[in-house]
């Protein structure tokens, strides 16, 4: 697509809508398979694709100013900070700081 003055058409919306429905069907189907640790990865990847479709087309982020894009990226960045640094505690608690007296 061209400049930001160009707004999506009804056709784009319907296409995105269909894509979303298809992805929903896929993710529900995949959930019935046992892929082990891949299950959450697949499901979240699909969710992220769906989220991006909504963000970029329905919410027209694709046609928004750079500033808006930076803002959304920043929010996601800080959310990841929250999750990542919190997990830095939870995931290392097991590396017991406590000595193993019997080694």
């Amino acid at each position: 697509m061209s400049s930001h003055a160009h707004h999506p058409t009804v056709k784009t919306f319907v296409a995105v809508w269909i894509a979303l429905l298809v992805l929903t069907a896929v993710t529900v189907y995949v959930a019935t398979l046992d892929l082990g640790p891949l299950n959450p990865i697949v499901a979240l990847t699909i969710a992220t694709v769906k989220a991006l479709l909504v963000l970029l087309f329905f919410m027209e982020l694709r046609y928004s100013t750079a500033l808006t894009k930076v803002g959304v990226t920043a929010a996601i960045f800080f959310l990841l900070i929250l999750i990542w640094l919190t997990l830095s505690d939870y995931l290392t608690r097991g590396w017991s700081s406590y000595i193993h007296p019997f080694h």
């Binding site: 900070i81 929250l82 640094l85 919190t86 830095s88 505690d89 290392t92 590396w95 700081s97």
Partner: protein, 551 residues
């Protein structure tokens, strides 16, 4: 810009534009809303100060014989909650940010005036809930609401207070949102980012924290309330919940929140120090960027409040390392302010005295923060009076001092009147002496091992506590005086003229008090920030016509 009339009262301004209570309560003028905030937070400051004085009185004797233990616990909790959520967080951004940001960027108002008024109402409703909790038996969880005490064991009115904090949070979010959008979208022509006053940079950084941090506090509080009302178990060890998760989420907001408190104060200092040394702020770019750096790095250090709380050793080390980084931009600011004085032409009006006090006290407060950042030391002094001293040095010695600087500096702008210089200097001195006497002994107490939130304490700590209480009494007088003489000056103060300080900045290029829409005509900016050389140059440049030029 119109020419200056020396009887600015005759000019229509935002104060005399309209009369009656309704014209204030339904105003969308950012200046009037700023005044509404000023009145509200002053009330809460006195209330919080009242609780503080009762705390200090109680601690005069080791036995804890003035009030009951429960009462004492409620006192410091309500002192903390009122001071933080109802006074210090909104103090500078909601009063001076509101009043000055649109003028400094040359706009008629904030981007969303109705939202701005709504913020004030939301703030007052939230404050209402907190006050309700105070009246109906108080709150005794500490301002930190730690679980599982707050969710399960406390008998006080936690839900109302939590709701209050939740609601005031939205006021903060909306203020931040308004400031961000205003700075991006409402700047006058020619006012590029690098021409913005440092006050704006500081408020911009503050607003980013407000917008990104406060929602996390909000959802945490929702979970606490659900836990307390319906026993959700998310933070309750009896159900396998982890109380530390609450602390993570709480401090994810509340550490950045301390920068919500200090960054606007730093903005004030930059404005005042430039004006009273008649100089551009040394290293403008670095001071501006350090505000942003503080805002960003401030989100990475929260668990330094939890070193001994049971987090993993490795996490503690990571957070300690990151905490040291966040100290650096503050250091950059302190050095740049100091360098600004070099070869200045310095005068000692009251705001400048507060600036000097700020730099000294903030340096001590900040450097003791570095003590706390060092995990090895924090292990000993956390939850002692050392921490209490640290945060009063940054919050009272820092932010409240800067608030007073701002109040004196922009008082003529807001009211058109001068405050009495002699009284104000005397009170600045009292604040400085009283403050140090109150809180310096607490560093010693802390290292000696006196835990905080103690209603009674071993007798050997008494002497230092008596000193602290004595200091607090002096401090109270120091804080009382401005309230009296500023109120007095509304009636009897000298007319200030439009720009008594010959200060730079767009807010001074309109009349004092400003007209309702700030500028008769949207200004076009062609000069750099802090162009004191041009202002003070004989004859001054055209854009400065009308301002009396010194020398």
């Amino acid at each position: 810009m119109e020419t200056i009339s020396h009887t600015s009262q005759a000019k229509p301004n935002y104060l005399n534009a309209d009369y009656g209570l309704k014209s204030w309560l339904l105003t969308t003028d950012h200046k009037r809303i700023g005044i509404l905030y000023l009145i509200s937070i002053s009330v809460f400051f006195v209330l919080g100060g009242f609780f503080a004085m009762l705390i200090r009185l109680e601690l005069l004797t080791p036995a804890g014989d003035l009030v009951l233990a429960d009462t004492y616990n409620k006192l410091f909790t309500m002192h903390g909650v009122v001071m933080i959520f109802l006074f210090l967080l909104p103090a500078i951004p909601s009063v001076f940010g509101n009043f000055l940001v649109p003028m400094m960027v040359g706009a008629k108002d904030l981007a969303f005036p109705k939202l701005n008024l709504a913020s004030w109402y939301i703030f007052m409703i939230g404050a209402g809930f907190i006050m309700y909790s105070v009246i109906t038996g108080g709150l005794d969880t500490g301002w930190t609401f730690y679980t599982p005490y707050s969710t399960t064991y406390s008998n006080s009115n936690v839900v109302a207070a939590a709701l209050g904090v939740f609601i005031t949070g939205f006021s903060s979010i909306f203020t931040g949102l308004n400031i961000i959008v205003t700075v991006h979208r409402m700047r006058a022509p020619g006012l590029t980012w690098r021409r913005l006053p440092l006050f704006i940079w500081a408020h911009y950084a503050t607003s980013v924290i407000m917008v990104l941090g406060t929602p996390v506090l909000a959802v945490t509080i929702v979970l606490v309330a659900l836990e307390r009302l319906f026993h959700f178990g998310i933070f309750d060890a009896r159900y396998g919940g982890d109380p530390l998760l609450f602390q993570h989420l709480f401090w994810f907001y509340s550490h950045p929140a301390v920068y919500i408190m200090i960054l606007p104060a730093m903005g004030v200092i930059s404005e005042c120090i430039a004006c009273f040394s008649r100089k551009r702020v040394f290293g403008y770019d670095f001071v501006a960027m350090s505000s942003i750096a503080i805002a960003v790095l401030g989100f990475l250090v929260w668990a330094h409040h939890m070193y001994v709380a049971g987090i993993s050793t490795y996490a503690a080390l990571i957070f300690s390392l990151l905490t040291f980084f966040v100290a650096i931009p503050s250091a950059v600011k302190v050095f740049n302010w100091t360098a600004t004085l070099y070869k200045g032409s310095i005068t000692f009006e009251t705001p400048m005295l507060y600036v000097f006090a700020f730099i000294g006290l903030f340096t001590i407060g900040g450097l003791t923060g570095v003590f706390l950042a060092a995990v090895g030391i924090d292990l000993h002094v956390t939850d002692t009076y050392f921490v209490v001293a640290h945060f009063h040095y940054v919050m009272v010695g820092g932010t409240v001092t800067a608030f007073l600087a701002a109040l004196h500096f922009w008082w003529p702008k807001m009211t058109g009147k001068m405050y009495p210089e002699n009284f104000s200097k005397a009170s600045a001195l009292l604040v400085f002496i009283g403050f140090n006497l109150t809180f310096f002994p607490q560093f010693l107490l802390g290292y000696l091992g006196m835990p905080r939130r103690y209603h009674a304490y071993p007798a050997e700590f008494q002497v230092l506590n008596v000193l602290s209480t004595a200091g607090a009494s002096i401090l109270a007088v120091g804080f009382l005086m401005p309230m009296i003489y500023l109120a007095w000056s509304l009636q009897y103060g000298k007319d200030a003229g439009d720009n008594p300080w010959h200060a730079a900045g767009l807010e001074w290029k309109t009349s004092s008090p400003p007209p309702t829409f700030n500028f008769d005509e949207t200004p076009t900016v062609t000069w750099e920030a802090y162009n004191y050389d041009e202002i003070d140059a004989p004859g001054g440049p055209t854009h400065n016509k009308g301002v009396e030029v010194a020398g």
